[in-house]
C-alpha cells in the first residue's frame, strides 16, 4: 500500500471518480442519443462488431448446412407449401381489396392506411449482460434512426424499441427487457393493457400484459398486438400469445404472461420503423 500511495494511487482513484461522474452526467444529459464518448468508442468498434457478427453468422450457416441438412430440407418443403397457400390468399385478398375499395367509395368512407417508412438493419451484437435484453443494430443516426423507433421482423412481429442511437449503430430494448412499456391489446376480446418487461419473466423469454380490465376473459393462445395508444408506436404489430392469466400478490392487478412471437436468439436482420402513418 505504501507503493500505491507513493505512486499517486489516490490520484488514479480521483480520476476514476471524475470519469464516472462525467460518463454518468453525459449519459443522463443525452437521453436517447449516445453521448460523445460512447459514440466514439462504439463507432470505432463497429468494424470489429460487424466482422465478428458476419463471421459468426457465416459459421452458424455452415454448421446448420452440414449438421442440420435434413431439417433445412424439411423447412424448405414447409416453406414452399406456405408460399403456395399465401399466394392463394394474396389472390383472394386482392379481390377483397378491390371490392372493399368500391364499397368505401359507394359509402364515402375514408380509406384505411398503414404506411411504414422502414430501414433494414443487421443485428450485430446480442445482450452483453444477463441483467437486460438488448440488441445492437448496424444502423444509427446516419440512416435516420431515432430513439423510440419500433423494430420489427420481416413478418411484422415486434422486436423492441430503439433506446440509444449512435452514428452508425443503435441499441434496441427488446420486448422482454425490463424497460419496455408499450400499449397492447388482445385481438379476440379487445382487452387493452400495458406490455411490460418483467425481471423474473425476462429470463424465461416472456413479458407481461399488465393492468387488464376486470372482466377480461383471456385464454391461452390469444393473440396480442400493439394497441397504438398514445400514438408513440404503431398499432397492429404482433407481439405474441397469451400463456396464462395471473393476479399479482396484492390481489389488485391482473396480468397475462405473454410468449413473444419473435425468436430473439436467431435474429439476423430486422426493420426499423422510422416513421408511420396509420389511418383507421
Amino acid at each position: 500500500m505504501k507503493d500505491f500511495l507513493r505512486q499517486n494511487g489516490i490520484l488514479l482513484l480521483v480520476i476514476a471518480l471524475l470519469l464516472s461522474i462525467l460518463i454518468g452526467a453525459l449519459s443522463y444529459a443525452m437521453g436517447g442519443e449516445a453521448d460523445i464518448l460512447s459514440n466514439a468508442v462504439t463507432t470505432v468498434a463497429s468494424p470489429i462488431r460487424n466482422g465478428v457478427a458476419a463471421a459468426a453468422d457465416w459459421l452458424e450457416g455452415v454448421y446448420r448446412y452440414v449438421f442440420h441438412y435434413k431439417e433445412l430440407e424439411e423447412e424448405l418443403t414447409d416453406l414452399r407449401a406456405q408460399v403456395r397457400e399465401l399466394e392463394e390468399k394474396v389472390r383472394q385478398g386482392e379481390e377483397a381489396s378491390r371490392e372493399n375499395e368500391q364499397l368505401r367509395e359507394l359509402l364515402g368512407l375514408k380509406e384505411r392506411r398503414r404506411g411504414f417508412e422502414l430501414e433494414t438493419a443487421k443485428v450485430t451484437a446480442r445482450s452483453t449482460s444477463n441483467w437486460e435484453s438488448i440488441l445492437t443494430l448496424s444502423k444509427g443516426t446516419n440512416d435516420g434512426i431515432e430513439a423510440g423507433d419500433c423494430v420489427i421482423t420481416e413478418t411484422g412481429v415486434l422486436v423492441g424499441v430503439v433506446m440509444e442511437v449512435g452514428v452508425n449503430w443503435s441499441t434496441v430494448s427488446t420486448v422482454i427487457n425490463t424497460e419496455t412499456e408499450i400499449g397492447g391489446i388482445v385481438t379476440r376480446t379487445y382487452s387493452a393493457g400495458v406490455l411490460e418487461g418483467d425481471f423474473s419473466l425476462m429470463n424465461q423469454g416472456r413479458l407481461k400484459l399488465n393492468y387488464l380490465p376486470e372482466g377480461a376473459q383471456l385464454v391461452s393462445g390469444d393473440e396480442v398486438l400493439t394497441s397504438g395508444r398514445g400514438e408513440m408506436f404503431p398499432s397492429g404489430l404482433k407481439v405474441g400469445q397469451v400463456e396464462g392469466v395471473f393476479t399479482d400478490p396484492s390481489g389488485q392487478i391482473r396480468y397475462a404472461v405473454i410468449v413473444p412471437s419473435v425468436t430473439l436468439d436467431s435474429l439476423i436482420e430486422v426493420f426499423v420503423i422510422k416513421d408511420f402513418d396509420i389511418t383507421e
Binding site: M1, D3, F4, Q7, G9, L12, L13, I15, A16, L17, L19, S20, I21, L22, I23, G24, A25, S27, Y28, L37, S38, A40, V41, T42, A45, I48, R49, V52, A53, A56, T124, A125, R126, S127, T128, S129, N130, W131, E132, I134, T136, M163, E164, T171, T178, D198, F199, S200, N203
Partner: protein, 170 residues
C-alpha cells in the same frame, strides 16, 4: 524501466485485453449456457491486479471500466470507479495477503465478481425491479459461469506478465 518500456508493457496488456473483450461482448453472448453469458472483463482486471499490484491494478481497472462503460450499451459511469477501486483492493490483497498465483487470482476474481453481483442485486432490490430470489437466479449462475473462465484469463495475462510484466524490460 524507461518510458518506452512502460508504454510497451501496457500496450501488450491492452492487446491481451482485446480478445477478452471480443469474446465477452460479441461472441459469448451469442452462445449463452442455459441462458447465461459469462462476464470476463472483471476477471481481466482482477488478473492484472494480482500480477502487477495495487497501483497498476487501479490503472488497469480504470481502463477496463472505461471500456465497459463506453463500448457496451447502457453505461452510467459507476463501473469505472468500481473496477479502479477493485483493482486497487485486489492488488493490495495479492501483495500482502495472497500470492501472485492462480489460487490468489481465483479468490480475487471471486471478490470482484461477487462485489459486482452484490451491487446489482442491491440495486435491483432498491429499485423494486424484482424479488431477492429472482435477482439471485441471475446473479449466482452468472458468477459461477464467469468464474469458470478464470483459468483462461489468468493464463493469458500470466503469459503477458512473464514476457513484459513487473519491472522486466521488454
Amino acid at each position: 524501466m524507461t518510458r518506452r518500456d512502460f508504454f510497451h508493457k501496457w500496450f501488450v496488456y491492452t492487446l491481451g485485453l482485446l480478445p477478452i473483450w471480443v469474446l465477452d461482448a460479441y461472441i459469448l453472448p451469442r452462445y449463452p449456457l442455459m441462458g447465461v453469458s459469462p462476464v470476463l472483463l472483471p476477471l481481466a482486471a482482477a488478473a492484472v491486479a494480482v500480477l502487477e499490484g495495487a497501483y497498476a491494478g487501479t490503472g488497469f481497472g480504470l481502463a477496463v471500466g472505461l471500456l465497459w462503460e463506453l463500448a457496451y450499451p447502457g453505461g452510467f459511469g459507476g463501473l469505472v470507479l468500481y473496477l479502479a477501486v477493485a483493482g486497487m483492493a485486489m492488488g493490495a490483497v495479492s501483495q500482502y495477503a495472497l500470492s501472485q498465483s492462480f489460487p490468489g487470482c481465483l479468490i480475487c476474481s471471486a471478490g470482484v465478481l461477487g462485489g459486482l453481483d452484490l451491487l446489482r442485486v442491491g440495486r435491483g432490490l432498491l429499485t423494486n425491479a424484482a424479488g431477492l430470489s429472482d435477482l439471485l437466479q441471475v446473479a449466482v449462475p452468472e458468477f459461477l459461469w464467469s468464474m469458470a473462465w478464470t483459468p483462461l484469463v489468468w493464463l493469458l495475462f500470466r503469459a503477458i506478465y512473464n514476457r513484459v510484466g513487473g519491472t522486466r524490460l521488454a
